[in-house]
Structure formats: C-alpha cells, structure tokens
Symmetry: C2
Subunit: 416 residues, 2 copies
C-alpha cells in the first residue's frame, strides 16, 4: 500500500461522501480461497472512508449477498462496522428533516445523533434485492445493523404500488444542503407499473426547495432485461442532480448525464465479482463525491486495490490447427487450453502489477480466470479435472472453463 498523504477533513462548505454499492458480504463465504474477498473489499472501502475523512458513506443496496446472512457473516460485518464507524471524531453535518420519518424504528434516530453512541462515520444504506425485507417480522439484515446502531437503513417504501419517498435533509454549516432520496429494491416489473401509474412520488422540501442538491439512491435493473423488467432513467424526475444506481455490477462509476432529464448517473458497481461475467472484469471502484454550494459537485473515482484480479478470455478450438483425429484427443485439447490459461494468469499478473508501483510479484493473489471455449466439432473436457492443474495458481479452479458451441452472446440476465 502506498503511503497516503494526510487528507484534510472537508470544509464546512463541502459535503464529502463515499459512494459504493453491492458489497455482497458473505459471498462464497465457505470457499477456502475466496471466502474473505467480500469482507476484504468492504474493509478497504471503510478504510478509505476513514482516511479520506468523508462526512458519510452512502451505499446502494446488496450489502449482504444472502437474505439471511450466516452468523459468521453478520458477526464479521458488525465487527468491521464497529471498528471503522464508531469513534469520537464528531460528525460535521446536521440531519434537519424529521428523523422519525426516515427511521421507523424504536429509536427513530440517525445513529450519530443517538446520545449513547459515538459515531464518526455514519453509513446510510437502502436494501437491495439480495438483502430485502422478508419472512416473519418482515425484516432484513439491515434492520439488525440498524438496531445495533451500526447502519442507518433508509428508503423502504411502505407500499410497492404507491411509493412515497421523503428525503433525508442534510446540511453543513457552510451552507451546503443535500437531500438524499432512497428507494430500496422492488421487483422491476412491479415498480415499472407503479412508475407508469404515476404512483412513485418524491416529496421535495417546501423550504428552500431549489437550494437542495438532490441525490437519489436506487437498486434496480438499469439495463433493459425485458419490456418492463428495468427502470428507464427517464422515469426519474428532472429535479434530481445525481442518481446513485446500485444493482448493476459493472463499474460505470464515471458520471453519465441523461440528456433528456439533465441529471447525472453514477453506477459504482459491485465490490466483489459474484459472477464470472464480462461486466465483473471491469476494474472495481468506489467514489468520493464532493458537493459544494450552488449544487457544484465532483466525483473522484478510487480503484479498489484488494479486489481479486479477474481475466476473462475466449478461444475457438476450430481456429487451432489440429488434424481431424486430434479433435477428440482430450490430452491435446487440454494442453492447448492450459497454455491459454497460463497466458491469462500472466496477463492478470501484469495488470495487477501495473496498477500499483509498490506491488511485488510474490504478493500476486490467485486470480479469477474464466476461459470461454467454443468447442464446436471438438470434444469437451471435465472442467473440474482440468482445474486441478491450477490449484496453486487460480482462485476458481472448478469453473475456469466454460464450454459453448457458438460464440456466446452476453445476455447478462443474472441476478445481481
């Protein structure tokens, strides 16, 4: 790790916010190699929040991978949150909207205003589709973190067919005002219908209506995965300035403006790859958002350093010059694929080394490698047996190879 210069805390005329999403804590927790990846990335994010002295952390949902996280995952998460977020550094902004309107709990308070807790980094999070409320009591894992004073869970709509969203109003002494609207995940088709029926209503503050920088946090399909199985950006109101879009795991954190509506969208993407898909190979980032008076803002992206390297590749066996009888020769094919995988491992290593001057070759972690093999007219191999050759070199030995018959079209319909 490089030695960071000491960061100054944000001035009173600036909100500094760490934005991240889809941390999927507990993903593959029983995997002896990858089991800690989600936590490692989350710890890096929390370290960044602390080092950059942000005012707060804003998360876009899917903090947990499983709706009912294991005891171990809950325990690790609570421990991390207590280690990083509790502290005597005072929080430098005011929560000026009614707290009980946002936090419908027995405590009805944002954690840092509870006199019994010293919170130095408040976290605000909506729920995703992986960690949505369910079961007896209609609770979600975030409700537990909220009861423990570790996270501020917001954005849960009372009715899915009549969604009313009231913002958290946050103010700094220097006069910056930020309104944070949130909407935890709702099934896309259903929410689409609710939008079409004009039943998603966002209530702007009556006072100084136009002085707020309006952020919206959403966890839905952004990519059109069916006629109504997504939320078109244009459904969102044009009074917004910035949309933090969760659920989509591809990191497209750089601001994209919606020309029709004028607002900007940032899609941080997941902090751990939960599928071996193209989108998850994009280098993973979180953002440091700064908001100034007059709704000026900027977003710095920060690459996550602890994320396991991931290289994906394609090979078409038909492109390899083999005689007809060799096409069914498993040994021959296996050797070809091994060479290719070795190349990919090397590529992963070079990328990893290039990303940071101070990295040493010997610290290179086992990468994720996915090789898509078009095997038309050839025999396939047993991917698990093939993987055995790479137990010391690759993190996902069981599913390095993915055999298909034609060049695969990436349909990207997986659960995010």
């Amino acid at each position: 790790m490089s030695v960071e210069e000491e960061t100054e805390p944000p001035a009173p005329n600036c909100f500094r916010i760490l934005i991240a999403t889809d941390n999927h804590l507990g993903y593959l927790e029983k995997d002896p190699i990858r089991g800690n990846d989600s936590f490692q990335a989350f710890a890096e994010i929390l370290t960044l929040a602390r080092d950059r002295k942000v005012d707060f952390v804003l998360l876009g949902g899917d903090l947990f991978h499983d709706n009912k996280p294991s005891r171990k995952t809950l325990h690790k998460t609570m421990t991390l949150l207590r280690q990083f977020c509790m502290g005597s550094n005072p929080v430098a902004f005011s929560f000026v909207s009614a707290q009980d309107e946002t936090f419908k709990t027995a405590f009805a308070t944002v954690n840092y205003m509870d006199p019994n807790y010293n919170v130095s980094i408040p976290i605000f999070s909506i729920h995703g589709n992986h960690d949505d409320p369910s079961g007896d009591g209609d609770l979600c894992a975030l409700d537990l973190l909220s009861a423990a004073g570790l996270v501020n869970y917001f954005g849960r709509a009372e009715k899915v067919d009549d969604v009313q969203i009231r913002p958290m109003l946050l103010k700094k002494d220097g006069g910056v005002k930020v309104a944070v609207y949130g909407m935890g995940n709702i099934r896309d088709e259903r929410l689409y219908r609710t939008f079409v029926g004009k039943k998603v209503r966002m209530f702007r503050p009556k006072e100084d209506t136009d002085e707020w920088f309006n952020i919206f946090v959403i966890h839905q399909n952004r990519v059109k995965r069916g006629p109504t199985n997504y939320i078109p950006e244009t459904f969102l109101p044009d009074f917004l300035h910035l949309v933090l879009w969760g659920h989509e795991h591809d990191c497209h954190i750089d601001l994209e403006q919606n020309d029709e509506k004028g607002f900007y969208i940032t899609q941080p993407g997941s902090s751990v790859a939960t599928s071996l898909s193209e989108g998850e190979t994009i280098a993973k980032h979180v953002g440091i958002l700064e908001i100034f008076p007059d709704k000026e803002f900027k977003l710095d992206k920060v690459a996550l350093k602890t994320v396991r390297p991931f290289v994906m590749g394609d090979i078409v066996l038909a492109d390899i010059k083999l005689k007809a009888r060799q096409k069914m020769d498993e040994k021959r094919i296996s050797d070809v694929l091994c060479d290719k995988v070795d190349e990919m491992i090397e590529e992963a290593k070079q990328q990893w080394l290039a990303a940071d001057d101070e990295r040493e070759e010997e610290d290179f972690p086992k990468p994720l490698i996915r090789l898509r093999v078009d095997y038309s007219n050839f025999t396939t191999l047993n991917p698990q047996r093939f993987g055995q050759r790479f137990v010391d070199k690759v993190a996902n030995v069981k599913d390095i190879l993915h055999f298909h018959r034609k060049r695969q079209v990436n349909t990207d319909k997986k659960s995010k």
Copy 2:
C-alpha cells in the same frame, strides 16, 4: 402495576446485581398467543434492573431458546437491550482484571468501558446449552450481541477437557470486591469427567486473594439425571461464596447452603415455561443480590408479574363413578375433564389475582393449563379437539390434556 418508590442507587460500599437465567428468548415465537411471552418477561427483568438501579445484570445462560435465533428474535432482543441498557447513567464500578483476558474479541473490552458506547446497565452472560457456540466460525448468538456492544459474553472455556477459569474482578469505591467466575455450558458427562480429572481450574487473584466475594455462574444439570449426567455441587471449590446455577428451570432462588463446601447456591429458574412440567409451575422470580464489605451479602427475590399463569392438575378417571358402559363414552369423559379444566382455570385466576392487589379480573391472561389424565380402563380423547372448547380461555389449547395409564412419575429429563 404498583407504583414503586424511587429506589436509591447502591452505595459505594454495595454491589447491587440483578440475577436471572434461562430467558429462552424466542420460545414459541410463532405462537399467536404465547409468541411474545419470553420477551415480555425479559422486558420486565430489564425494567426491574433499571428501576432498582442495579450495578449490573448477571445471566446464567440460555438467553436464547434457539441456537440460531430467528431474525425477528434477534431484532427484538437487540432492540430491548438497546432500550434498557444504553444510557447516560454512569456505571459505578471498575473492571480491574485484564479485559482482554475475559473478552477475546476484536474490541477486548467490557462494553461500558468502550468510549464509543454509553452503557448504563452492563449485562454479563455465559452461554447455555440452547445458545452455545456452534457451526462455521464457532460462534453463538451472544457473540453477535457482544459485537454490537449490547452484552458482555464471558465464561467460554477454550478446551472442554482442560477448563481454565479466570474471574472478572469488579471493584467499587467503597471497597467491595467481587470476582465473577463463569463457565458456559459443556455437555454434562464430559464436564463431569474433566472435573474428576482435576482439569477444571479456577484461578484466584494473587493480590488480596481472600478479600474477594467469589461468584460462580454455571449452566449444567444440578439434578442427577444419570450417574455422571450432572455436576455435583461438591465438585465446586469451597472458596466460592455464591453459585448462580442456570439451566434448571424450577425456581429455587432462595439461598441454599451446601453444608460440605460452605457456599450458597441460588437457582433462579427460567423466566418462561418451556415445558408443561411441575417444575415450571413454581412461581418465577429473579433476584436482587447485594454484596457488602467483608463478604456480607443478601438476596431479595422478586416475583415476575408478566409471566403467564400456569396450573397443573391430575385426574384419575377410575376415581370417577361411571358405569362400565360409560367408560367408553367420549362425551361423558369430555364433560368430566371440561369441568376439571374449568376449575383449574378458576384456580389460576384466583392465584393470579391474589398475587397482586391491583390486578383486575378482566386483565387475567389466558393461562397455561395442563391436566394429566390417568385413563386406565377408559377411552382417551383427541386432545386437540378437546382443546377447541377452550380457545378463548386457555393459552395452550392443543396440549391441555396429557393421557397416561398410571400415575406419572416426573422423571424430569427434558432439555432445559
């Protein structure tokens, strides 16, 4: 509820401790009538701790009924603990032994000494057999409460065949010194063997060794349920002054001296009936223990008021004068049993009213009723169908009747 006089906080020369055990939070949580009973009793206990201004609460295990409490139960528990235990009232005793020796967590601290938490009532608890560490990570539900700063979980032995117990050393300004030794549940036969092998060792403080009031918290069979399926009181060392014995659900909270060893034992019993057995009918209490200099102490017992009334009875059908042909007449038998159950409900009501002047008849909660029926030479009834007559009067309609052929001997081998 009666209006309590304002209690003075304990003087500096007095430790005031609320003792309770076997709260079995979440017991029958899905039962529409009894689902909240365990929480109601626990809330009463916490209210008492607050009203009596105790220095701390000491629990004897089985705080939870299920090893993996449901999300709802965890959430209710965390909410209750935060409501009652967090607060700005300062804690008036010092924790003078090494905290990291007792609390082997990332925080290595007793909750009230963590500068980021305001705790006004620290809770100390060992685990029971219902909520013992298990599974991936070898954690128990108390570890979650501990990570959240809500409970101080102590007394977990590292090895079951070489148990080393170091006390928490607690001191008040007025010179009272209390050493609290704890041992979370271990399978009885196994622990018996460890005791016999002289491998249960309790380490007394080297300084002022004889000045400490020594409490031991244990969660094991006290009743001999097999040759080595219990822990004889005489296994415990005679330097102890008081043993808080958990696991046994019968309330025998009044001090009993072990003549051979000299120490006293208090067995508070469970705060919710988890079986319809004789022992659970004993009125449920918790204790207010006060410890003064020179190892003087007293224990006041306090009856729990929110506990559901429970009456148990016996009937021998042969004692009823019926003609031979009526002995197989379900209707006739049912009427007899109904009358008996009605009597028992009335008995429950009278007991309940008598226990507190301010109770009103209309507030009488549905009681637990268990009628043991010796049906030798008679027909039995379907207990569930029978119970339907009492849906408005009894809490446990499905298992009011228990048919047996001879007068039952209470073997008391149930899981506590």
